[in-house]
């Protein structure tokens, strides 16, 4: 990650915190100073108070959403990595799978949600399927790019020592693909939570998306913002968790 916008030095961290503090102060000042009604912009303190007073409701909803996002995430990663490995092991499949995956992906993924809701009902299953669909293509593409990046000569060398396809895959291709694969998985974390929430909005028994939609209908905008706050916190911690795992696994980076 050297030279990336996320690389952090102590000064950068200080400035980042300063930026966040400034944002909160401006927000609070704007909302309080101009006496903005809460449907335009509630003050930060009001939102935090809202999170606290509705903690039971929001906690339960977040549990729902996080479960959907996590299971969908696992499924999506398995499908993406599985397909990429299958294509690498059996190159004949490439001509079938690649165009099919591209065609399915040409439709914006949220457009599938009415169909998926009809097929899988409005319980948790439909959200897991949607999340898996939304992620698998990204993970598939980044895994494939990683697996293809292998040095031809390294393969020839391993072959000359009598290594089979499986052992080349396990010892050479997968480790080489790991950085790209994990980067794809990290980017997908935030998306998994967002897709789960979007799908909940169209129909669900619970979850943050459902809470947000109900709050919109009841014009309770403090609750909308509280749910947004919880959703953001959930995505960020998920993102942080995968980023942490990434650094642990890629210890040589």
């Amino acid at each position: 990650m050297s030279g990336s916008p996320l690389a952090s030095s102590p000064l950068a961290v200080q400035r980042g915190i300063l930026g966040a503090v400034l944002l909160v102060v401006c927000w609070e000042g704007l909302a309080r100073g101009l006496h903005l009604p809460s449907y335009v912009l509630p003050a930060v303190s009001e939102i935090l108070a809202g999170v606290w007073s509705k903690r039971a409701l929001l906690g339960e909803a977040a549990g729902y959403t996080v479960l959907e996002a996590l299971v969908g995430y696992g499924l999506g990663c398995l499908i993406g990595i599985g397909l990429a490995v299958a294509i690498t092991m059996l190159p004949a499949l490439r001509a079938v799978i690649l165009p099919a995956a591209t065609a399915i992906n040409s439709v914006p993924v949220v457009a599938y949600s009415p169909l998926i809701l009809l097929w899988f009902g409005i319980g948790v299953a439909s959200k897991m399927v949607m999340v898996a669909m939304a992620l698998s293509f990204t993970v598939f593409l980044s895994t494939l790019a990683g697996l293809d990046r292998v040095d031809r000569r390294a393969i020839d060398l391993m072959r000359s020592f009598g290594a089979g396809r499986l052992s080349i895959l396990w010892r050479l291709r997968l480790p080489t693909a790991l950085p790209l694969l994990l980067a794809g998985m990290r980017v997908s974390t935030v998306r998994s939570v967002i897709v789960a929430i979007i799908t909940e909005m169209l129909g669900a028994y619970g979850g943050l998306g459902w809470v947000i939609y109900q709050a919109v209908l009841q014009i309770d905008f403090v609750q909308v913002w509280s749910a947004i706050f919880v959703a953001s916190a959930a995505s960020l911690s998920f993102f942080g968790m995968i980023g942490f795992l990434e650094r642990k696994i890629l210890f040589w980076k």
């Binding site: 400034l22 165009p99 591209t102 947000i212 749910a227």
Partner: protein, 271 residues
């Protein structure tokens, strides 16, 4: 679409080209052939395996349904395209500008970039609810949602692209007395362009997502509205019709951006 064209290109590069006909004709023929094969497989698979229409209706049924009420689909298509285009254009411009600003002023980047990152974890539907409230149920509100989904990848890639510029080239241009404006236009932006286009391709599909989701907050025309209405009436044929229209819009827009990329970044190795 991008992968398909690159596949086509790979084959052309390895010498499979039949001599004579121009490239675009061959490509179009290939595309039409692929579509025809897909349609044939779809139609016959549904008949052969007796798939229930709830899961997959026959393609001909869907096309006939579209042909029966073409007005709704055409209007929806145009409306959603307009929202997508406005969101994409403003989002890309904002993304490039903030990317340049963050590149120039390090303190600004360190203060605001983390906030940008956090802003992307706000689920768009929550944001959408607020935007519709702020701007009313207008075309503008949907364009703002599309904008919100679009700008971030463009900012990131502009920044990354600008940072790949070779410092020695900068020093050389400076030694000939180039101003920072000239430096930006002649060296830094052209160097960043391939990276920026990667983000623009991604942004083209994200802006469509924004437009469709934005329409779910209540509207009367648009592909998102068609999807939602079809879902409420459990009309699977209509859902597939709207899906096909969305696919057409998505691939069409992606193809336009990719074509612009080939034109503008003609030197890039990837193309």
């Amino acid at each position: 679409m991008g992968a398909t064209t690159s596949l086509v290109k790979d084959k052309a590069a390895t010498g499979l080209r039949p001599a004579g006909r121009p490239a675009w004709l061959r490509k179009t023929a290939r595309l039409l052939f692929g579509l025809a094969v897909t349609a044939l497989i779809w139609e016959s698979a549904v008949q052969l395996f007796v798939i229930r229409p709830v899961y997959l209706p026959r393609l001909s049924t869907i096309l006939m349904a579209i042909a029966a009420t073409p007005g709704a689909y055409v209007n929806g298509f145009l409306r959603t395209s307009a929202e997508t285009l406005i969101g994409f254009a403003t989002g890309s411009a904002f993304g490039v500008l903030t990317g340049i600003a963050f590149f120039r002023v390090r303190a600004l980047r360190e203060m605001i970039f983390p906030i940008f990152v956090v802003s992307q974890t706000i689920p768009v539907i929550a944001f959408g609810a607020l935007v519709v409230l702020w701007f009313g149920n207008t075309l503008l509100a949907k364009a703002v949602i599309a904008f919100y989904l679009t700008f971030f990848p463009v900012t990131v890639n502009t920044l990354l692209g600008l940072e790949t510029v070779d410092p020695k080239q900068v020093a050389l241009m400076r030694s000939f007395g180039a101003s920072s404006g000239q430096l930006l236009l002649r060296l830094q932006l052209p160097t960043a362009l391939p990276q920026i286009f990667v983000a623009l391709r991604l942004a083209s599909s994200l802006s469509l997502v924004g437009a469709i989701v934005g329409e779910w907050f209540g509207d009367t025309t648009g592909l998102g509205v068609l999807l939602l209405q079809a879902m409420f009436t459990e009309n699977v044929v209509a859902i597939w019709g709207a899906l096909l229209a969305a696919a057409l819009l998505g691939t069409g827009f992606y193809a336009v951006v990719a074509a612009a990329e080939r034109r503008l970044v003609f030197w890039s190795a990837e193309q």
